[in-house]
Structure formats: C-alpha cells, structure tokens
C-alpha cells in the first residue's frame, strides 16, 4: 500500500492517463478529474504542515525504490519530503489548483479543453517529480518531463505558427541548458559515487575536497582539484537552472512562451516551472556552499538578470510580456539570494512571488479575455468595467513592488537586506546597487502597466465585462494570500521565522529576519514612491511626454526596447557562425561520409561482387571443387 | 543359450528354426493358393480343383512342377539384371519378416530353453517395418525393368500405394507401443497371454492395421497395381514360369506374414483364451505344441479372411484408395494415437 505522498505524485499522472484514454470525450469530466487530482494532492500536503513546523529542517517522509540498475549502478525513484519540498509542494499544488479552476473559466468553449487539462495534469506530475526527487537522476527525468509538458502547453494553439515557434524556442533553449545539466550530473555522479542528495552531501567531506578529483594520465598528469571540481560541476548544473529558470543568457524563451494560454503562463512561467531552478539551487546548496567561485557566479548572474529584465520590461507594450520580464527579474532576485547564501529568503520570495505573480497573470488573462488584445495601448479605463479584477491586480502589484505590509515587502526586503550586507566575494556595484535600482524599476514598469491598463481614457474596442466567477474567485484567493501572509507576519514574526527556517538547508548561514521598523518601511516606501511616482508623472498625469524621454535616452532606450539585442545576437550567431559551421559539416558529410564512406563502400561491394560473380560459373562441379578447397584449407589449418 | 557359450549348438538350433519356418511358410503358401481356389469355387457355387489327389490336395505340387518346367522367357527389351532380380526381391522381405515373429512358447531341448522365434530382437517391430518397407522394391523394379507400359504403371501405382499405407500401418501400431512400452514382439505376446488381447484394447488400431495390411499385400480390394481389367496383370505382366511363381509365392508369403503379425500384435499370438503363461509352462513342451496350433489357427483364419474379402468386395478406384488412406485412415490413426496417449498418461508419469 503506497503511502500518502505517492498519491500526491501519481494522482495527476493517473488523471492525465485517464483523460488520454477516453475521458477526453467529456470535457467536464476531464476537467473535474484533473482538478480533483491536484486538489487531493494539496490537501494531503497540508496535512504535513504542522509536522513540518514542529520538526524544522528534518526529513518528514522518505521512501524510494529501485527503478533500474546496471551492475553496481543503481537508479532509484524516491519521494522525499522535507521543509524545502513541502514549501514547494504547497506552491505547486495550491497555486496550481487555483489555476486549474481559473482555467475552467478561461478555456471554456475551447475545442481542445480536455487535451489542455490532460497536459496540465501531466505538467503537475512532472513538476511534483522534481520536488519529490531524492536523487539527481530522478530530477533529470522530471526536468525533461517538465520540458516536454511545457512544450506541449506553450504550443497548445498548435495552429498558430507563432505558438509553435515559441514552443520550439523554449524547448531548444532548454536543451542547451540541459546539456550542461546532464554533464554536471554525470560528473557529480562519477566523482561522488552517488546521485542521492543525502549520499552526495555525506560524500563531500573536507578530506574529499582536499584531494584531486579527476586524475588523467597518471600521477604527473592533469588533475582537477576539489575546489575546481565544485565550481565546474556546480556551474554545469547551473546551466540547467539557467534554462529552466530563464536566467541570462538563456532567458530568451520565456517572453515568447507567453504565446501559450494565460493559465499556462501563470502556472508554468510564473509560479512553478521557472521556480524549479531556484528550488534545485536550494536542494544542491550543499554543493555550492563550499565554493566561493560558484556562489559568486550564481549571485552575479542573478543580479544581472534581475536588472536586465527590469530594464526591458519598461519598454514593452504587451501586457503578458511585461509580466514575463517582471518574472525574469524576480527570478533573478531569487537566484541572487541563493548566491548570497540566503536560500530561505529565495524560497520565501519564490512562494510570495508565486501568489502575486500568478494573480497578476490571471488578472492579465481576464483582461485579455475581456478586450481580446494583449497590447496595453489598446486598454485603459478598465478600472470601472472590471472592478474585482482591478482591485486584485492592483493589490498584487503593490505586493510585487514591496509595498510595506504586503507579502512582497517581507520577502523582497529579506533579499535586499542580504545585498546590503554582502559576502566578501560579491561585487559592490552589481550586488548592492543594481538590486535597489531594479526595485525602483519594478515599481516604475508595474505602475506604467497599471496606469495604462486601468486608468485614463478608454482605448479599448467592444464591450468588456467582468470575468466569470470561476475566473475571478482564484484572483481573490491569491490576492488574499498575498495580503494575508504579509499581515500575519506583521502580527506574528515568529510564524515567518518558522516558515523560513524550515526551508533552510543544513549549513546555510543564519538568516536575517525582517523587522517591521521605521527605517525599513521608509526605505521600502522610498523605492516604491520613486518608481511609482515616475510612472504616475509620465503615464497618468502626462506631465512628461514618454516620447520625449525616449528621444532623450536615445541609444539606451533602443537597447532596452530591443531587449539588449540578445535575440539579435543569437540570430546573428545562428545565421553566420552556426550556419557556416553547418555548411562546413555538410561539406564534410557530403565529401567524406557520403562520397567516400557510403558510396565508397557501396562501390567496393559492387566491384568486389562483380569480381566474385566471375566465379559463379553456374557449374555445380566448380562449386564443389571450390567448396572442397575451402574444407581442405580449414582441415589443413587445424592440423 | 548364447552364441558365446555354445556357438555350434546356437548356430545349429537357429539354422533348424530358419529351415522349419521357411518350409512351413512355403507349404502354407502353396496350400493357400489351393485354398483360394477352393474357397472361391465354394463361394461361386463351383467345385474347384479336384482332379489331383483327394479334393485336389496334390494340386500345389502339380502347379509347382508346371512352373518349373515351363520355358523361362526373358523378353528382349527388358533390363535383364533387374528383371531377373525383381521376383527375388519381392519374395525376400516377406520371408525375412518371419524371423522376428514368435510362433509358440519356448521349448526345452536338452536342458536348454529355446525361444520359438528365430531372432528375438529388442527392436523387433521396427525391424519388421524396416524390412517390409523394402518389399516395395520388388514390385517397382519389376515394373520398371519390364520396360513396357502396363508394368511401369503398375510399379508406380504400387510404390505410391505401399508408401502411403505403410504410414497407417506404423501409426496404428504406435498405440500398442505406448501401452506396452516395448518393441519386442515376444514381450507383446507375453503381455497378452497374461492379459487381454490388444484387439480389445486398441480396436481402432486393429481395424486400421487390417485395412492397411490388405493394401500392403496388394490384395483386393486394393489390388490396383495388378488390376487385370486395367493393367493386364500390372507389374508382372511380362513374367512367366518360375519368376512369376516367385511373385505369386511372395504375395502369399506376405499374406502369411501380415496374418502372423495381426495374430501376434492384436490376437494374442499363441494365446488361448483363459490360459495363462503358467498353464502353458505346466504343459511343458506340449504347451509349445498347443500354442503353435493356436497361433496357426489364428493365422490361417486371418488368411481365410483375406480370401473371403477378395471374393466379396469389389475393387477400389485409385483416387478412392488414396483418399481413404490420407484423408480418412491417417487422421483416424493420429487421433487414435492421441487418445491412447491420454489413456496411458498415468503409466508414463
């Protein structure tokens, strides 16, 4: 009899299978099964929360079975629940469940709705597998499964060429990251002798790190020191994180992935899948922590991504893309937090971010649903038409901007505090200045979005109306979560401490807990007012013409507007370098492989056949003689 | 008594057995011809041969003398060597087969127990089939060597017919092997003496065996190779005098052989109902005499059946013969083997 946690993992898979095997004829049944599967998982998860709060960092549940093996190598498949994975479980099943319900309203009437729910269930299963995994191989399997289900969901509107392109882009970009990820896994497995997290952590003794890990060419040959091994392996594993969590420079797929249905954007590209990278960093924290090089790579990459994405978000007009770049930026924050040693801060921000960003995406989806466009220049004044959506959207925005008292304030301030007291390896400008600038930019672009969408004169077409209850109720719940978590911490700081401490892996530095004191509040308000005020001036009161700023900023604006030319660089690389390299390869293939090897062997066969055919006289007698000669030769050789 | 202990006695006894058996068979064959004529006459309400001796009892001797003194014609167009050899080949297997047939309980001569069989082989029945499978050559070679139309047709017919029915013959006996677990004819007889005759245990096999025996000996209703209305006289059309007589004797010897085989395999050999092997043993050498008489009674009765059938049942057409063999008897024989196997399952395990 499997125990509870296995149900969390496999119910969505069963649901996907059921829908695929026949339930798809009835979309209501399909949706019901899918929703029931994810909510059942949520309720089972919730039962573990009290245990987790009392047990702290300990392991709550661990079971694994032998899945495959070859010789001494054994691949196991396990379910591991500790504070970290419990947190992630709550996010995935809870937010996922709400998004399932939202999708019921959003996708209503779509001919492929059953397929959509099957994909959703498959995705939930894949994602939960990562969360549950107790070893790297299992993580890799589910990493790929997540990639596949993400591909399916982004390309859900498969008749739309742009959706197909986006799906392909997401998949290919992830492949680049997964390539490094796989090499990293193999290296870690080879060096440590196990892919099991506990085993890996136990194997990484100081003695082990002091010796040379890879010996090539004897005692005088090349070797890799423990320190080098750590950051090389960690860096390769980080490539996987870069792919899934869309960190610079593998971020390019995420904005395009907005081609998928909005619930998908909310679920995958805001709350869960992109968070998998951050989750993995926390899981493997024991691997990164001893190496300052690895930690500094992570921290600087995260900081840069956060800033980089925020600058791009200021110039976009597609409502979902703005949110997508905002997501990139926030993920940058989380990765940076891990790099600075604050895994609990990262996980905390991940959780709160899942609440309000999912809410924002779903709100955006409701708006798109109402006005049938993504462009914020064709919106405006929607505040009066869709009041519920507006208020939830607005509060979530405040939370994202870190308005004091809301959940984002606590989590983001936890990260900013880390940047204020950086470790020795941190670059002063990148770590201390940029995150603060990014926070200001966050407020700016979010309020630009707010003012252009909800305030001002109506620029929309048709008659938009408020979303149906199945769509707005998840918004309300998510807003409530985003708000209430914040205020509950205000009244009871120990809750937050308990909440954060359970996600802290062993060996992580002691965290700094945010206090609701005047300097912190003022600092936060300062940042908020700066950004939001600029937006207010430019986009609400129109005291400054945005066009003038554009011309004034000139090349910088063009840089932002063209997303720092990253996509163009990639295009250029593909068009010139990769294409030429492919031509070279093709030339090699044509000349050496096909002309010489393939055709050559065919020619040799034919020629030798023609030669041998001369001995096919058709005379039995000659055959017998030849045969006899062969037998005689064999006999003579053996005597 | 074995060869290694007393070689001379062994050779002498076996030579005696061979001579006795051969002569008995030849005499029986000769008189079987007479019997055939008498019986056919009786059936057709005629008198039959009655000039030579009482009731024509010396008629076979007169026939033999006639054959000996006729001119031995060898037609010019034949393949001489094979033409001469073929009658001998036809006669030989029928006689060799008799070597493994037990004719009576063992007798005691000068303190030695002598089994009343020429060669008591482990693989008696296989030997028997092996030899009888050679019988076809006599007919085939005669047909071919004659180098003329009807004999060749007769020879080809004969070979197809005999090969086909040999299969049925073998398959029908498989059931008996399965039940008895031995290939030694002496053992099979002994088991029947103390038990029940095989024709009651294996009725289907018995019927198939009898039908196949008719076909193997080229007797009516299966005498297609020599059907006189179609092929003049079939494979022996070109033969005369003593060579013809050898075919003739060969046919009757084969009848005798198959009759003996039926008696041994299905009718209990020398057994008399309600007599056990102890009873035979208590009679001493008289037991052997009684057994021999019993055995010969069965053989002669079966030969009478041959004759009876010949003058009663019309000839089959060739396609009917083949259909009967391959489409009726072969499936029945196979099913019979399976059924016998099922009945004998506990014995095997």
């Amino acid at each position: 009899m499997p125990s509870g946690p296995w149900f969390i993992l496999f119910l969505p898979l069963v649901s996907a299978a059921l829908i695929a095997c026949g339930l798809h004829r009835n979309w209501k049944l399909s949706a019901a099964v899918s929703i029931a599967a994810v909510w059942a998982g949520f309720f089972i998860t919730v039962m573990y929360v009290p245990d987790a709060l009392s047990a702290g960092e300990g392991v709550l549940f661990h079971e694994s079975f032998r899945w495959a093996g070859a010789g001494d190598i054994e691949f196991r498949y396990g379910a591991l629940i500790d504070g970290l994975s419990l947190m992630m479980l709550l996010v995935v099943t809870g937010v996922g469940g709400l998004i399932h319900i939202y999708a019921l309203g959003y996708m209503k009437g779509d001919p492929g709705i059953s397929r959509f729910f099957a994909f959703l269930s498959l995705f939930i299963f894949s994602m939960l597998g990562i969360v549950f995994a107790d070893n790297l191989f299992q993580i890799f399997i589910h990493w790929e499964l997540v990639g596949v289900s993400s591909f399916l969901l982004i390309g859900y509107y498969y008749r739309k060429p742009s959706a197909n392109d986006a799906a392909n882009k997401a998949f290919l970009t992830n492949r680049v990251g997964d390539f490094g990820f796989m090499i990293g896994i193999l290296m870690a497995f080879y060096a440590l002798g196990t892919a099991d997290f506990a085993g890996m952590a136990a194997a990484m003794t100081p003695e082990f790190l002091a010796q040379d890990i890879f010996q090539v060419g004897g005692a005088n040959g090349w070797a890799m020191s423990g320190e080098t091994f750590l950051w090389v392996t960690g860096g390769l594993l980080l490539m996987g994180v870069m792919g899934k969590s869309a960190q610079f420079p593998l971020h390019v797929w995420l904005p395009d992935a907005m081609e998928g249905p909005t619930p998908v954007s909310a679920l995958i590209h805001a709350a869960t899948m992109v968070a998998a990278g951050v989750f993995l960093l926390c899981r493997l924290f024991f691997l990164y922590m001893p190496s300052e090089t690895a930690m500094s790579i992570i921290a600087h990459m995260g900081a840069f991504t956060a800033f980089f994405a925020a600058t791009i978000a200021t110039t976009q007009f597609d409502i979902k893309r703005i949110l997508a770049f905002s997501t990139l930026s926030q993920l940058g924050y989380m990765v940076m937090a891990v790099g600075l040693g604050g895994t609990d801060a990262a996980m905390f921000h991940l959780t709160t971010h899942a609440f309000f960003k999912a809410c924002l995406f779903l709100g955006a989806g409701a708006v798109i649903h109402a006005v049938h466009t993504n462009d914020i220049r064709e919106m405006g004044g929607l505040r009066k038409v869709m009041p519920i959506t507006f208020w939830t959207f607005f509060i979530s925005t405040l939370a994202l901007c870190g308005f004091p008292g809301l959940s984002g304030f606590w989590s983001k301030d936890g990260i900013l505090h880390l940047t204020a007291h950086p470790p020795a390896y941190a670059d002063t400008f990148l770590i201390t200045v940029l995150p603060t600038v990014t926070a200001v930019l966050t407020s700016y672009y979010m309020f630009r979005l707010i003012f252009m969408t909800w305030f001002g004169e109506a620029r929309y077409h048709g008659k938009p109306h408020e979303a149906p209850p199945s769509m707005w109720s998840p918004l309300v719940v998510l807003t409530g979560l985003a708000t209430l978590t914040g205020w509950s911490f205000f009244f009871n700081a120990e809750t937050m401490e308990a909440f954060r401490s359970i996600t802290r892996p062993a060996g992580a530095p002691e965290p700094h807990y945010v206090h609701f004191d005047m300097p912190t509040i003022l600092h936060a308000l300062e940042i908020f007012t700066l950004g939001a005020g600029a937006a207010w001036v430019a986009f609400h009161k129109k005291w400054i013409d945005p066009e003038k700023i554009k011309t004034a900023l000139g090349p910088i604006h063009r840089l932002f507007d063209n997303r720092w030319y990253v996509d163009d660089v990639y295009t250029w690389i593909v068009d010139n370098i990769q294409q030429n390299f492919a031509r070279l390869c093709n030339l090699f293939d044509q000349l050496v492989i096909i002309k010489t090897l393939v055709n050559g062997s065919a020619w040799t066969t034919r020629a030798s056949g023609a030669l041998a055919a001369r001995y096919q006289s058709g005379s039995v007698r000659a055959y017998v003689l030849l045969f006899l000669a062969g037998v005689a030769a064999m006999l003579a050789l053996n005597l | 008594m074995s060869f290694s202990e007393e070689p001379l006695l062994y050779i002498g006894v076996n030579l005696a057995k061979i001579i006795i058996v051969t002569h008995v068979v030849l005499v029986v064959c000769a008189y079987a011809v007479l019997a055939e004529r008498k019986v056919s006459a009786w059936m057709q309400d005629r008198v039959g041969p009655n000039r030579v001796g009482y009731f024509g009892l010396l008629q076979p001797i007169a026939d033999a003398l006639k054959f000996f003194f006729k001119e031995d014609i060898v037609p010019g167009h034949v393949n001489k060597a094979l033409f001469v050899l073929a009658p001998a080949i036809a006669l030989m297997p029928s006689l060799i087969v008799l070597a493994v047939i037990p004719i009576a309980p063992p007798v005691v001569v000068m303190g030695h127990t002598v089994p009343m069989v020429i060669a008591d082989l482990d693989i008696g029945i296989l030997f028997l089939f092996a030899i009888s499978s050679l019988a076809v050559y006599g007919v085939v070679l005669a047909g071919w060597a004659s180098n003329s139309k009807y004999p060749l047709l007769g020879g080809v017919r004969a070979s197809a017919q005999m090969i086909s029915y040999e299969l049925m013959l073998g398959l029908s006996v498989v059931g008996i092997f399965m039940a008895t677990g031995t290939l030694r004819l002496m053992d099979i007889v002994n088991l029947q003496v103390d038990g029940v005759w095989n024709c009651f245990y294996h009725p289907i096999a018995f019927i198939i065996f009898v039908i196949a025996a008719f076909a193997e000996t080229n007797r009516l209703p299966f005498d297609l190779p020599e059907a006189e209305t179609e092929l003049v006289a079939g494979y022996h059309t070109e033969y005369g005098s003593m060579k013809f007589a050898m075919f003739f004797i060969g046919e009757y010897a084969a009848m005798f052989g198959f009759s003996a085989l039926v008696a041994v395999l299905f009718l209990g050999g020398w057994d008399i109902p309600f007599m056990s092997s102890e009873t035979f043993a208590s009679l001493g050498n008289w037991g052997a005499v009684v057994g021999f008489i019993s055995f010969m009674t069965k053989v002669l009765a079966f030969m009478f059946l041959y004759i009876w059938v010949r003058w009663t049942i019309p000839r089959f057409r060739y396609d009917q013969l083949m259909n009967l063999g391959w489409k009726v008897l072969l499936p029945i024989a196979l099913v019979n083997v399976i059924i016998t196997g099922l009945f004998n399952l506990p014995k095997g395990s």
């Binding site: 000669a629 006999l635 | 060597a81 030997f127 070979s159």
Partner: protein, 164 residues
C-alpha cells in the same frame, strides 16, 4: 570376433558405394545405394546402435530411395542420355588430397582416443528415446517444423502452374 563382420559390412559398403557412384544406369545406382545403406545398417548394429540401424533401413532404404527410384522412373532416363561422367585429373587430385587430410586428422585423433573405452548400451531404443524427448526436445520439434516446411515446399514446387 567382430572384426570379420566389420570387414564384411565395411567392404560391402565401400563396394556398393563405389558401384553406386560409377555405374551407368541410374536405377542400378539406386539399387546399389540401397545395398550400401543396408551395409551401413549392419555396421550400426556392430556399433550397438540398433534403433539407428532400423531407422537407417526404414527411412533411407525404405523411403528416401523409393523417392529416388520414383523420380528416376518418372523422368524415365535412358542410359544413353546420361552418358559417362566428367573426370579430370584435378578432381582426382582434389579427392586424393581430401582423403590424405582426413587420414592425418584421423591418425591424430586415433592417438588421442583410448581404445578401451568402447562401451555398450543397454535397453537401447529407450535410452535414445528418453534422451531425444528430454534433452533434445527442442531440436526434435525444430526438425518436425523443418519436415513440415519441406512438405509445403515440395507441394508448391511440384504443383503444375497453369501457364507452365
């Protein structure tokens, strides 16, 4: 004691084989071949392989050779048609070389075999049958399939097609 029988049967076998291969008339060849097989069966008896002796006669002499004869008759070859054989020195040389090599192989082997180890089998057919139906049951079944395939192939090949 057995030696005379060996030379009797062995000599007959060689003689009849020789005649089989080198007489003009194919029917005579077939007859001599039957005799050769019969001699082989005699040798099998000397080697205590009674069952195989019976099968040799039953299958080879009784069935296979009948087929040969049948086909020879069907084709109705005349002696003059298959005149002679083609002998060239190369073939004789090849055969000689082959036998010489065999001789070397046999003499090498003979030195390695202990002549005393010759043994006799008891209850012969049962032993063979038991081995055949236990250890060798899969090859046995495979052979039955082979025979089935041969039957089908023969029927297909022998069937006269309408256009032919």
């Amino acid at each position: 004691m057995e030696l005379p029988f060996f030379f009797l049967f062995g000599g007959a076998m060689v003689l009849f084989t020789l005649l089989t291969m080198f007489v003009k008339n194919p029917v005579h060849s077939a007859i001599f071949m039957i005799l050769s097989f019969a001699s082989t069966a005699g040798l099998f008896v000397l080697l205590d392989a009674y069952l195989m002796a019976a099968i040799e006669v039953l299958v080879y002499a009784g069935a296979i050779m009948v087929l040969f004869l049948f086909v020879i008759m069907l084709i109705n070859l005349r002696s003059d048609e298959l005149e002679g054989m083609k002998v060239n020195p190369l073939m004789v040389l090849a055969a000689g070389t082959f036998f010489a090599l065999l001789h070397r192989a046999i003499s090498d082997l003979g030195a390695a075999v202990d002549p005393v180890r010759a043994n006799t089998f008891e209850g012969e057919p049962k032993v063979v049958a038991k081995y055949l139906f236990t250890e060798m049951v899969i090859p046995f079944e495979a052979v039955s399939l082979l025979l089935l395939a041969a039957i089908l192939g023969t029927v297909v090949l022998a069937r006269r097609t309408r256009d032919a």
